[in-house]
Each structure stands twice: as structure tokens, then as C-alpha cells.
């Protein structure tokens, strides 16, 4: 992709910016019909794979996330690559990618490189992608944890930008991952809570409570017109605990 060019996938983020006059891309690279980007083999999900397909065929927690993205119209058009490209703190796909330590594959004329999610997402809507690079795929690890749960809080039952997103995964050996969105400038992992609970084979009420408390402590949310810092903190803990409990069932 040439410098100064703008990638256009499903357009569900980019066209909003265009319609509102926030951007006026001169040189658009349309990706909607690029077959290669729509390829999905094993853990390598092409950037052009739509939410619609992820909802049907994605790993459990990513499929759960996909079902809540916008509306059918948005899911038919919007892609995982676009979600990664926008890198919103409220991106629905991102907590899953963080939980499983996915990598982002970038392609340019000078070749391909792969960045782990936490090297790729560097701030609010900021990524390590160079202007000449295209996101070609999202690479998931070979083996995914058996238990994975996603949840998203919004005040209506469809089409919401969530105030808190959470993904909890738990592997057979007890290794637990907790990723949260909308509660910090980028998607984050609640590492202390993970550490605490991973070593407990069958967590009891005390452990669960401490786990929730740590999650609430680890997030760094803000107050804005969508919610308050306090609520986001509180509900991060509630949600993480509920998802963990679902994983343990």
C-alpha cells in the first residue's frame, strides 16, 4: 500500500469519519473484494474476515463478541482487520485477541512482519502499523484454551458501544487470562488477578471475591458521557467474576 493511501475494508469505521467530515481520504485502497484477505486457515484469520463469519465459525469467545457487534448490517460489512486497524479502546474483537496473546500480521512491499497484540496496540486508536503496511491477518495461537467466555455491558440490548468488555479464558491446567476493554486507553490484561486465580484448582467464594477485587483494582477507567470511572471499575470485577464462574462450570 502506498504511503498516504487509506485502507477501506467494510467501511463501518472509516465511512463514519468521512460522512462527518473528519477525514477526506484522497487515495483509497478498497479491500472488500480482495480474496486473499478473506482467507481463514486454522488460527490465521484474514483481516477481511467479517463479523458475520466470525459469529458463525469463530472460536467461542470471539463468536460471542461478533454477535454483539453493531447490527446485522454492520456485521455483514465490518471486518476483524478493520477493528484492529481502528484500535478503539472499545473494539469488540480486541479483548479476545489480548486474552489469547494473538499477533497481528502486517504486509508491505518490503515484506511481512508479525507483532504481538501488546506491541501492536500502543494507545487510544494508535497502533504500530506503518503507513505503508496493510494488516494482512490476525494470527491466533495453535491451541486455544477450552474455556472462554465473553461479555459486554451496554445499556440497550443491541447496537451499543460497551462501557466494559471482558474476556476470561481458562485452560485445563488452570491458567486463566482476563482481558478487558473500554476501561483503559488500550485493551488490558488483569495480570495480578490472572496470577492469583491460575494457581487455584477449584476457586472458592474467597478466591472469587479476591479475584473480582483485583480486576477492579487493575483497570484504569475514566468518566465520560457513557459511564463513570466508579461504575466501570465496579462492573469490571463483577463481569470478570461471572465469566470465570462460567469457565469453571
Amino acid at each position: 500500500m502506498g504511503e498516504g493511501a487509506t485502507a477501506l475494508a467494510g467501511g463501518t469505521d472509516l465511512m463514519v469519519e468521512v460522512n462527518f467530515g473528519h477525514t477526506r481520504p484522497e487515495n483509497v485502497v478498497a479491500l472488500r473484494r480482495v480474496e486473499e484477505l478473506a482467507q481463514w486457515e486454522g488460527g490465521r484469520i484474514g483481516a477481511g474476515v467479517t463479523w458475520r463469519r466470525l459469529e458463525r465459525d469463530g472460536p467461542r469467545a470471539l463468536a460471542q463478541a461478533a454477535r454483539t457487534v453493531g447490527s446485522p448490517q454492520i456485521r455483514n460489512a465490518g471486518t476483524l482487520g478493520g477493528n484492529v486497524g481502528t484500535a478503539s479502546p472499545a473494539g469488540d474483537g480486541l479483548p479476545f485477541l489480548a486474552a489469547v496473546d494473538a499477533s497481528i500480521e502486517l504486509a508491505s512491499e518490503s515484506g511481512r512482519r508479525t507483532l504481538r497484540w501488546d506491541d501492536f496496540f500502543i494507545g487510544v486508536k494508535k497502533t504500530a502499523r506503518r503507513p505503508d503496511e496493510l494488516i494482512s491477518a490476525i494470527q491466533l495461537p495453535e491451541a486455544l484454551p477450552d474455556r472462554q467466555e465473553f461479555a459486554k455491558i451496554g445499556v440497550r440490548n443491541a447496537m451499543v458501544i460497551a462501557t466494559v468488555y471482558c474476556v476470561v479464558t481458562r485452560a485445563e491446567d488452570g491458567e486463566t487470562r482476563v482481558a478487558l476493554g473500554s476501561v483503559a486507553p488500550t485493551t488490558i490484561r488483569a495480570r495480578r488477578a490472572e496470577e492469583l486465580i491460575s494457581s487455584v484448582a477449584s476457586p472458592g467464594e474467597e478466591d472469587l471475591r479476591e479475584f473480582a477485587r483485583l480486576v477492579s483494582e487493575e483497570v484504569t477507567p475514566i468518566t465520560d458521557h457513557r459511564s463513570t470511572e466508579q461504575y466501570r471499575r465496579h462492573s469490571s470485577g463483577v463481569l470478570a467474576r461471572r465469566l470465570l464462574e462460567r469457565c469453571l462450570r
Binding site: V155, T163, S227, V238
Partner: protein, 741 residues
């Protein structure tokens, strides 16, 4: 009390009581119905508006040069270019057509442009260089009240002011700013007539008042401006005030070309007035047996920067501050303050919504305190025909079946089936936050009361003309169809008045008929319907008299079982009848707020069943059942549509719809963050219609548009209280209010 003989319904297919298919249904379904947004004229220019980015500032200078320099720009106009009255306003012309010295709210129009296409027009609007000296916005209502920066103060004193009840409950309540959010934004087209006049086709609820305001600000003769009813994508109060109307006409006359303007959604949020946010302090006194003894209330609404209908909304809030309950000692003080917040005005329910949330919370509090079932307390105090309004003291002469509403609501099966197993119907929906085990169910009741038609001595009338043509009967009117089904119901009324099955409604412009008044205050079915019925029945009688007939039907005039004049012949004769209908007079209140202030009333009750996830503060409104006083159901299906739609807006206000204002700036002027309920948020609705003869509307019909919105919000709030034990003193209820408190 006056009794009114209700006009006989002459049998005719498609008449009142039926629910015929909407005449505008097919074009709307096929996408061929023409809305203001879809209008087009040859050589048409596009208009756009330069708006203030500050809620309060002094305009130091305006430089239109950079905008004019853009290719394709035909005009850039400012306040200096307004030839007539510099201001407009529905009740008081206090709002500048274009701001000249000072801007008083965020998004206030400062300049308008016309250009060859829409993008160029928007570019030019952005290029107008305005230098502002930013001033501190006054956004604090208390401060405004202290400075006496107010639009109106209301004082109501009725009965003995010293009485005390054995039980007293106090409460403070708040309602956030709701937006009508009609799906069609403001749009219109103005076409110069070549002789200095102009034809205006724009979104409106009231074309005659638009026309008057255009005439005033353009300095034209009334006959030079014609406002035409136009296809409109909803209104709910947002289309009562002028917004782009004068601008369009200015640009059209200046450029000599047709000019079209369509507000984008974000602009629409600043381009029309909103529902007033309110703060309310209440004290209810009752005796141990549950008799309501005294109500004291203080109501403060924020009118924002300009008057709009704040004075009338405030009055309504005060008049209906007690609800549909008998009470002989009342004290209400109200004030509508002026601030640099967005201007507020009419929205469905018009002041009654805000106070309903408060008085119903108070009634529930009282019920708890007294250990009486909330419905029982309401029944004991139910206001009904023959009683006096608790606030104004007005004798209620038309039917007011409050008790029937309560009884029928109570009798409706509760269908308490427990939290649904369908995840889309749980709080949080497919967000998967909540499982059935996390849910607490609550049930809440509320009643609401509101006036129908205009009040306080306003000369409320509507003209309609019924003509017999080859197409059948035609009802000519300037009453706006906003989606509610006026085009169906007026035709039905004409059919039942004439005894003919072919009737259609045809909209005509302001030069061809007198005003029908506004499509608001739930009034058109009663007032324009009243005019239509009177015109139809008079016409029928005149035709019968002229031909010595004893019956008129689709074949023609009959006498003694024989056809004497065929319908074609009647059509050729050009029969027509024009009627101006007025409802019973109302009067301005005295200094204590007493008097015959209202023409008619309607009452409705709602029972909400909600599922709440208390730990996350998420709410799903499971169902809302209702019983509503409709006088006579002229079109049951349309009424159901009004009820379901009105309830949805009430639910929206209860749990999600709020314009968030910070320092006078709207933080969420878009559909991403101003949340409207989706189909997955819709509750199931069961509706009972209470019919009773005696209102002055056609065949005894009452207006039905607003009551569904009034008490549904309060019922949902009550149900959330029931589920969570939280006080819920503010709507919309936010997740944090429930989860954290």
C-alpha cells in the same frame, strides 16, 4: 354538568371504528412517498448553516469573504440580511433568525449559505469566519432563578394552605433532557415565485405558524408566502418551532432560486428544541386511611436560551403536578429558567411527563408508608368526572374514567412467567452479561393525566373543507400528518359523517385554507376531526335537503327507497362545505392559578414489568400493559400504534435516552451515544381502551397521542424500585444509579 349528544355514525365502509389500511402505506413501503428530504426542483441550490461552537459568546466580527470566495457559492447571509423582524418564536419572538451580537446556545445559527451542491454548501458554512469573545455560559438553573432570569413563574394555591396530613412524605426528583429524535431530520425546499413571494415545503407540525413567522421576518405580505404541508418523518414536538424555515426563504428570495436544506443528525440535535430537564421537590400529606390531604410541589424546568414554549410547558407541569387524584389543598410553585443550555420546548407529554415521574414516585412512597397497595391508594383518591381539578379547581365535565383505568389495569393478567431463557431478552441481551439467576423482577404502576387541546384561553381552532368530487369525498386540511394516521382518521370521519365510503384527505397550503392549528397536544383527531365531522354532516344534510332525500350513500340521494340523484351528478355539482371548529373555550388562570384552563382531559395507566440485574445495574423492560381513556376508538389499530410507540418513548426516557449536557455543550449529538430503544429493547404491550361517551371530539373521541408517554416512564421507574429497593429519583436511570447508588 353538560351532556353532549354524540353525533350518529352514518354507516359507511371504512368509517370510524374500523382500521382501514393506511392510504399512504403503499408509497411508504415502496420508497416512493415524498418526504421533505426527497424534494427536488430544477436549478436548486443547497443551503447550509454556520453555527456557534460556543454556548455563550459575543460576536466580534463575521467575515463572509472566505465562504463567498468558494466556487459555486451563491449567497452567504447574516443577521444584517434579514429584512423583517430579526427574531422569531412560537410564543414570544425572542430568538434571532441569525445571531448578530451574541450567541446564547451551542449550535445557534450565525450565518446561512447557498451553493450549487450540498458538500460545497457545508464547506462554505464552515468557511465563514466568525470571531467570538467567549463568555462564561450560564448553565446553573438556581443561579438563573436567583437572577430572575426566567421565562415564567407559576403559582398555584388552592384550598386551605394550613392543613397537614397524618402522614407526610417528601421527595426530590430529576428528569434528564430527552430528545424527540424523529427519524427524519429537519428538511425543506423554498421556491421563489418570481413575484417576490415564496413557496415553502418543509418539515412542520403547524404550517400556518411557520408562514406567519416567515412573513414577519422577511417583511412580506401574508399572501406572498405559502407554506405547504410536506411529507415528514416523525415530529413528537420537534417540528413545532421554526428552524430552517425562515433561512430557506431568505436564501431563496436572495438568490432567486429554489433552495433545499437537510439537517444532518448531529445538526438536528441542535436544530430543534428538546424535552425540558426538570428538578422537582414534593411533599404529600395524607391521612392514615389513605385520603390525600395536601400536595406541595416546586417545579423547576430549564428552558435553555430562548422562550420557545417554555411558558406553556411550565404551566402544564404545574397544572398536572398532582396527577389524576382528588386533593383540596394544593400549593405549587414553578419556574422556567433561562440559561445558555440548549433551548427546550414541546415534546410529547408537554410538561406532564416530568411531573408524572415525581407524583407517581410520591404516591408509591405514600402507599409504602401507609401499608396500602399502590393501586388501592390511587383508586381511593381517583379523580373523576364531577370532581374539581386539584390544581386549578376546574370542574371536570367530560368523562374521566380514572377508576375504570385502575380497575381494568389491575384485572389484566400479570403474565408473570419469570425471567426469559432467551438471552436476547435478558438485561444486557447478547452482551451475555446476565443469566436468569442474576435477575430480579419488579412490577410497577403509574397513572398520568393530561389536557387535550390548547389551554389557558388560547383560541384553538381548526378549519377543514369537505368536497364532493369524482374521486369521492375529499377532506382538505392543513393539519399535518406526522405519521400518527391523520390521513386515515379524517377520511374515516368524513365517511361516517357523509355516509359515503370513498373519502381521501388532501393537504392544501396556507393560502387555500385556514389554520388547522398544530399537530400537537393530542388535538388533531378532536379538533380537525371535529371540523371534518361538522363539515361532513352539514354537507350531507344540505344535499339531502336540496333533493328532498332521506338517505345518501355511494349510489346517490335516495327518497322513499328510490334513487333520486346519482352520485356522479352530485360530484359534478361541486358540493362543498367548510367548517371552522372550536372546542369549548378556556381561560387564562387567575393569580392563584385557578380557573377553567383546559378543554378536555385524558387519563391512562401503565403497569411495567422489568427484569433488573442489580449488580450491573442493567434493566430490560419485559412488558408494559396499559389501560387508556380514549373516549371513542375511531381507529383501534392507529391507537394501538400510538400506544406502543408512546410507551417505547417512555421506556427510552426511563432507562436510556438522555442528551448529556456539559457546560452548555451536548456531548452526545449522534445516534451512537443518544440511545434510542431498538427492537430488542421493546417490551410486549397489552392495551385496553376505555371508551365512554361525552367528550366534544368527533363521536366522543379523545386525543390519544400523549398519554402513552406520560406514565410509562414512571411505571418503569416504579418497577425498578420494586426489583432493587433503590430509590430511583432520577430518570433516565443509569446503570451506576442501580449498581452503585
Amino acid at each position: 354538568m353538560t351532556t353532549k349528544t354524540t353525533t350518529r355514525i352514518t354507516p359507511a365502509k371504512g368509517g370510524v371504528g374500523e382500521s382501514p389500511l393506511r392510504p399512504d402505506g403503499v408509497p411508504k413501503l415502496k420508497g416512493t412517498f415524498e418526504y421533505a428530504q426527497d424534494l427536488h426542483a430544477d436549478q436548486m441550490l443547497w443551503g447550509a448553516t454556520t453555527r456557534s461552537p460556543h454556548p455563550h459568546a459575543r460576536i466580534v466580527s463575521i467575515d463572509v469573504g472566505p465562504a463567498l470566495a468558494i466556487g459555486g457559492v451563491h449567497a452567504v447571509l447574516t443577521a444584517d440580511d434579514v429584512p423583517g423582524r430579526a427574531t422569531f418564536g412560537l410564543e414570544h419572538p425572542d430568538q434571532p433568525v441569525l445571531a448578530s451580537d451574541e450567541v446564547r446556545y451551542w449550535g445557534e445559527p450565525v450565518a446561512i449559505v447557498a451553493a450549487e451542491d450540498e458538500p460545497t454548501a457545508r464547506l462554505a458554512a464552515a468557511a465563514v469566519r466568525v470571531e467570538y469573545e467567549v463568555l462564561e455560559p450560564n448553565v446553573d438553573g438556581d443561579e438563573a432563578e436567583r437572577r430572575d432570569d426566567t421565562f415564567r413563574r407559576m403559582r398555584i394555591r388552592r384550598g386551605d394552605q394550613e392543613v397537614q396530613g397524618e402522614v407526610v412524605v417528601d421527595g426530590y426528583y430529576e428528569v434528564g433532557m430527552q430528545d424527540q429524535a424523529p427519524l427524519g431530520t429537519e428538511a425543506g425546499l423554498a421556491i421563489p415565485d418570481g413575484n417576490g413571494g415564496v413557496d415553502l415545503y418543509a418539515t412542520s407540525q403547524f404550517v400556518h405558524v411557520d408562514q406567519e413567522q416567515v412573513v414577519a421576518s422577511l417583511g412580506l405580505r401574508p399572501d406572498q408566502v405559502r407554506a405547504h404541508p410536506t411529507g415528514i418523518g416523525g415530529a413528537f414536538g420537534a417540528r413545532e418551532d421554526v428552524n430552517l424555515h425562515i433561512h430557506l426563504c431568505l436564501l431563496a428570495l436572495y438568490t432567486g432560486k429554489p433552495v433545499k436544506m437537510v439537517y444532518q443528525r448531529s445538526e438536528s440535535f441542535t436544530g430543534h428544541v428538546h424535552r425540558h430537564p426538570a428538578r422537582m421537590w414534593y411533599r404529600h400529606h395524607a391521612n392514615r386511611d389513605g385520603t390525600l390531604i395536601r400536595v406541595e410541589a416546586r417545579v423547576v424546568i430549564d428552558g435553555g436560551a430562548y422562550a420557545s414554549t417554555t411558558a406553556a410547558v411550565l404551566a402544564n407541569a404545574c397544572y398536572f403536578s398532582v396527577g389524576p387524584y382528588r386533593c383540596d389543598s394544593v400549593s405549587v410553585d414553578g419556574v422556567g429558567v433561562r440559561t445558555n443550555n440548549p433551548p427546550c420546548g414541546a415534546m410529547r407529554g408537554f410538561g406532564a411527563v416530568q411531573v408524572c415521574f415525581a407524583h407517581e414516585a410520591q404516591m408509591d412512597k405514600l402507599a409504602t408508608e401507609l401499608g396500602i397497595h399502590p393501586l388501592e391508594l390511587r383508586r381511593m383518591n381517583a379523580l373523576t368526572t364531577g370532581d374539581h381539578m386539584p390544581t386549578t379547581g376546574q370542574l371536570i365535565e367530560t368523562p374521566l374514567p380514572t377508576r375504570e383505568v385502575i380497575d381494568s389495569l389491575e384485572a389484566m393478567p400479570i403474565m408473570d412467567d419469570g425471567p426469559p431463557d432467551d438471552v436476547t431478552q435478558l438485561p444486557g441481551g447478547t452482551g451475555l452479561t446476565t443469566e436468569p439467576g442474576d435477575v430480579k423482577r419488579g412490577v410497577g404502576y403509574a397513572l398520568g393525566l393530561k389536557n387535550l387541546g390548547f389551554s389557558e384561553g388560547f383560541d384553538d381552532f381548526a378549519q377543514a373543507r369537505v368536497r364532493l368530487t369524482e374521486e369521492g369525498a375529499i377532506v382538505e386540511t392543513a393539519a399535518i400528518e406526522v405519521g400518527q394516521g391523520l390521513v386515515s382518521v379524517l377520511a374515516q370521519i368524513a365517511r361516517s359523517g357523509l355516509g359515503l365510503s370513498r373519502a381521501v384527505v388532501k393537504h392544501v397550503d396556507t393560502s387555500r385554507i385556514e389554520s388547522a392549528g398544530s399537530t400537537s397536544a393530542s388535538r388533531q383527531t378532536q379538533v380537525s376531526g371535529g371540523a371534518t365531522l361538522e363539515a361532513a354532516t352539514k354537507l350531507r344534510q344540505r344535499i339531502l335537503d336540496a333533493h328532498g332525500g332521506d338517505d345518501l350513500n355511494d349510489s346517490g340521494v335516495w327518497r322513499g327507497g328510490e334513487l333520486v340523484v346519482g352520485i356522479e351528478e352530485l360530484a359534478e355539482a361541486g358540493w362543498e362545505e367548510t367548517v371552522t371548529f372550536r372546542h369549548p373555550p378556556t381561560y387564562a388562570p387567575d393569580e392563584d392559578g385557578q380557573g377553567v384552563v383546559h378543554a378536555d382531559f385524558a387519563v391512562a395507566g401503565h403497569r411495567a414489568v422489568v427484569d433488573v440485574d442489580p449488580d450491573l445495574g442493567l434493566v430490560k423492560v419485559h412488558r408494559v400493559d396499559t389501560s387508556q381513556d380514549v373516549g371513542r376508538a375511531l381507529n383501534p389499530e392507529s391507537i394501538r400504534g400510538q400506544i406502543e410507540g408512546g410507551i417505547m418513548q417512555g421506556v427510552g426516557l426511563a432507562i436510556m435516552e438522555e442528551l448529556v449536557i456539559e457546560g452548555g455543550v451536548i456531548k452526545n449529538p449522534n445516534f451512537t451515544d443518544y440511545l434510542l430503544p431498538t427492537i430488542l429493547d421493546a417490551p410486549d404491550v397489552e392495551a385496553l381502551l376505555i371508551e365512554e361517551d361525552g367528550s366534544w371530539g368527533p363521536f366522543g373521541a379523545k386525543g390519544v397521542g400523549e398519554p402513552p408517554t406520560i406514565s410509562s416512564t414512571a411505571a418503569v421507574a416504579a418497577a425498578i424500585r420494586d426489583a432493587t429497593g433503590r430509590p430511583v429519583t432520577r430518570v433516565p436511570v443509569r446503570p451506576q444509579d442501580i449498581a452503585i447508588g
